[in-house]
Symmetry: C2
Subunit: 221 residues, 2 copies
């Protein structure tokens, strides 16, 4: 289970909750391709429970736009469009800038060290072309920063946006690898260390726009 999205590593109180996090994790890890259809009974059998908790978990995920229901009521992994991508990009920029700004006053020695360590993990993953590791480390890096300001509402909005791009990201990674990805983490770290709001904003904006903006029309199907 991805730490950044479930940092407390909690034991799930209900089956529905367990299923929700399992499916969410699978999406983040690129286990589902865009367009792929998901069936309630199939998931229930796979996760060893009745259809009931699956229904509620899927309803929750569609509500976050991590999945979508087709006009024939079938639950599918959404396909991306350029319009959607542009919107997600814009929303991520403004929300993650806000989260980072909110986090800045809480940056101390310890936090900075943790971020540097995570950045190192990202770089190692990039060098080794380890997609799985890169995705996890990158996620941890960003959310560790954002979480410093103890945001709740904004963070869940950001999580929803990451979930929406995850399937496409993995598609692109599998096709082109992770090597030529831009790395704005150094700028971001420097801005964070200095408490320079403007530098942080610029780094986040570039990180997002270069990462998602490079995906052109051809990759969308």
């Amino acid at each position: 289970m991805t730490r950044a999205f479930n940092p407390t590593q909690e034991v799930f109180r209900t089956t529905q909750e367990r299923v929700y996090f399992q499916v969410r994790d699978a999406i983040l890890r690129g286990k589902f391709l865009p367009g792929h259809a998901i069936t309630i009974r199939g998931l229930a059998a796979e996760l060893d429970c009745s259809p009931m908790p699956v229904r509620e978990a899927l309803r929750r995920l569609t509500s976050e736009r991590a999945l979508e229901v087709s006009d024939t009521r079938r639950v599918t992994v959404p396909t991306m469009t350029l319009e959607k991508l542009a919107e997600i990009c814009a929303a991520r920029v403004v929300l993650e800038c806000q989260a980072a700004e909110q986090a800045l006053p809480f940056v101390d020695e310890e936090a900075l060290e943790a971020l540097c360590e995570l950045d190192t993990r990202v770089n190692i993953a990039l060098e080794e072309k380890d997609i799985e590791q890169y995705v996890t480390a990158n996620l941890d890096f960003h959310f560790t920063l954002y979480r410093l300001g103890r945001p709740h509402i904004i963070l869940s909005l950001i999580e929803s946006l990451w979930l929406q791009t995850a399937p496409l990201q993995h598609l692109v990674f599998q096709r082109f690898g992770v090597q030529e990805l831009p790395d704005r983490h150094k700028d971001l770290l420097m801005g964070v260390a200095r408490g320079d709001v403007e530098q942080v904003r610029r780094a986040i904006r570039q990180d997002i726009e270069e990462g998602l903006g490079s995906i052109s029309a051809e990759e969308l199907l």
Copy 2:
């Protein structure tokens, strides 16, 4: 049913969907007070269906933070805190500015006229101290503008944020009325008419911050 939130006035394809919109509408119209507990069977009886669709609708609404589940698994209308309010405020500012900016290129004579008419309705409601009318007209005014840019993802994020403040808003309205509310719609309309991004942003920011910012600690319970 609030037009701005369900502009197509669609016929609902499933019971679950009908229940979802009915409860959502009730929240927006202030039918539920913060802290109020909602029961599945109770709602099911009231809306004349089995508990099943209600469960899914409530799950969806809690996913949007319009409702929340207590630690004893009871679904309640969330109570507000200053921290949450500040976050919602910040998120609304950046997202609604983004939506408005995206809408500007689509503003034409017709749209401008529609907005003016809605603004008039808001002012009439304010003069007559008609809370119900004010809430509806204000909602329509903002979302009519935002919808021009045909946003999907950002719009649903904004909707979620409005839902979260609705119960508190109504509480404040009932206690203090709607008379002394700030009106930044004139500035906003002028900015929209001119295509002046900066003026629009400023008006939206002030509209949100003066509207929600005036709610101090005492009102929160």
